[in-house]
Amino acid sequence: MLSIKVENLGKRYRIGLKEEQHESLFNLFLAFLKSPIKNYKTYRSLYSFSETSGSKAFIDDEKNGIIWPLKGLNFEVNKGEVVGIIGKNGAGKSTLLKVLSRITHPTTGRVEAFGSISSLLEVGTGFHPELTGRENIYLNGAILGMRKKEIDNKLDQIINFSGVHKFIDTPVKRYSSGMKVRLAFSVAAHLEPDILIIDEVLAVGDAEFQKKCLNKMEDAGKQGRTVLFVSHNMPAVTRLCPRAIFLENGKIVDDGPSQKVVANYLSKDSGTTAERIWKNTLNAPGSDIARLRGLRVMSKSGQVTESIDIREPFSIDMEYEILKSGSILLPHHHFFNGEGIHVFTTLDTDPQWRLKPRPKGSVKSTVWIPGNLLSEGNYMVGSGMITLNPEIPQFYENPAISFTVIDTIEGDSARGDFTKNIDGVVRPLLKWNNQYH
């Protein structure tokens, strides 16, 4: 059954309030006299568009500061589908959510939605510091679209879930920020709309809170709700969303099974998900101490590869520049599997450089991951660098690269001669022994 239907959806903004430069005091004074008229025109022009300027043809007109964050999107979502929306910053994801949640109006096209819609672009919208926890539950619940009766019924559940029942009649301004977030989230968690629109900004906060958010989303999907989920967290998308939509520059580039779409997204720049190179130093992640230049998944034989034989060791190469000598550096990688589980973390333990300040220069750090360790499936790697004493992160890119581990049926891997699906996060090849007594 159809849940959301989007046709030719476009949104136009005008940006660019440029500050004027004045060459002399006299010019400045003149501009000051003229400014009320000029200001009026600029502020008016923010929402009036002459039909010639970009009209409705989805053309960005940078000269006049007109941009189209959405350029004629078409897609349908069925009831109960959980769809991830991915793309780089500025691809139009947030604008799409804002249009779907009726916060901003589309310029062209239409959206038809069947059933009640709730959007969570932020937790705790409308929280008032002077009101008590209980009062804020009512206020926030109503803002998110719950009826008073509904909140009455769920009040105890919400309070229990939040874990702040001791302070429920204390003004929220006396809460710690963590308590505030927990209370806000537990209100959001008890929403029961037909369509739920979630922005990943929701998933800020501590790890436990993020996990709660993601679990809640999973439940929503299982309960037959339609969920749209915007995220940069690729492991979360592949784990929670069977389907993903990849936006770029206001258009849909790819729409389909999330594993495939995410792989497409990750390999968009280099043609492979197994390699990332930052040619331009301006957009390379880094600080004034270290800057990331490249990441690679390498097979045993030294080839860049996306698919790893489960039996073979492979390596991750990290290339970076040390821009300032004298720091103790610690490159590290985090491995996430297709379910979003953080499988393990590895930190540089090269004895040659332990607790030793490193000089300037271009460096390649290589780590070898043994064969017969990871289970089969997709993995994403988040790579970063911290300096020690004191511990300061210099860069962290997640997900930076990804690869797939493939098990063989040749019988010499951990699955032996068993050909069906095997569960488990790791798949070590262990020694077995059988004895009759």
């Binding site: 502020y43 009726r102 916060i103 109006h105 239409r110 038809e112 939605a113 009640s116 919208t125 008032h128």
Partner: protein
């Protein structure tokens, strides 16, 4: 799936009036927003709701001394305290409600950009929550009336009408100004002195009978005139001078209706121009 649960989001350009069905759907939220405004208004104050009384009382005292004792303005024989009390109380409501509703979108811009509910609720909330202050300060009016032994008259029948006009005037102005304020922040800076000037355009410190006959119609186009005159007649039992009242009734309705149209026409760009 029921058809009435369908939401259509389109780029529309027409004029729209109040969507009553939608407002009714959001009545619980409306209630909570009003309740929040009331609850929060005097939070962490020592005086609490007494502030709703202190403000008009101080103003009444000042006006009585300056305009009643020093300037000795003509009040058609009514004691000055009585004369000004019944005017300052509705005026305090109108000025505060306009002030708060005109800023309602800006002060709620965080919510505006994060969640949808009918935008009209922002100014409406201010208009309604200020009624609590008004109700409390009406106690002052009743006490003053008792002190001067003003007997209630049949004019009181019309009192609800003037409360409605008072609210419509404040709401209409609030709708216009809030929609304007989100595009041009000048509204905020102009507000204090425009309101002060507006006070002298209505017969609050002086008597409407001091207006020359030939200007009477133009003068009474101002809906505040109609509210003040109505309050005086109803509470003090003076004769209802409809000549001063009916033009204002029409203006207040026009202000409200045009305000809704203007607000709803601009609401689709609110978030984009914050």
């Amino acid at each position: 799936m029921a058809n009435d649960n369908r939401t259509v989001i389109e780029s529309d350009t027409g004029f729209k009036f109040i969507d009553l069905k939608e407002l009714i759907e959001y009545r619980d939220l409306f209630y909570f927003l009003v309740w929040r405004n009331i609850k929060v208004l005097y939070a962490q104050t020592i005086m609490g709701f007494s502030w709703a009384i202190v403000q008009p009382v101080v103003q009444i005292l000042i006006f009585s001394v300056i305009f009643g004792k020093v300037a000795k303005l003509d009040t058609d024989g009514i004691p000055y305290v009585l004369f000004s009390t019944v005017a300052i109380i509705p005026w305090t409501y109108i000025s505060q409600a306009i002030n708060q509703s005109s800023q309602s979108l800006i002060s709620g811009q965080n919510m505006l950009g994060k969640v949808y509910f009918p935008r009209l609720l922002y100014p409406f909330t201010s208009i309604l929550s200020k009624m609590v202050d008004f109700a409390i300060s009406m106690v002052v009016a009743i006490i003053v009336c008792c002190y001067y032994r003003v007997p209630p008259t049949w004019n009181l029948i019309f009192f609800p009408l003037f409360i409605v006009i008072m609210m419509f005037t404040a709401c209409g102005t609030g709708l216009w100004l809030s929609a304007m304020a989100i595009r041009f922040r000048d509204v905020k800076h102009a507000m204090p002195f425009v309101i002060r000037m507006a006070m002298y355009t209505a017969p609050i410190v002086y008597s409407a009978s001091s207006i020359p006959d030939k200007y009477r119609f133009i003068y009474s186009i101002n809906p505040i005139v109609s509210v003040i005159e109505g309050f005086r007649s109803c509470l003090l039992g003076t004769s209802l001078s409809w000549g001063f009242i009916w033009p204002g009734i029409i203006t207040s309705m026009a202000l409200f209706i045009s305000g809704v149209f203007y607000f709803r026409r601009l609401e689709r760009i609110f978030v984009d121009v914050i």
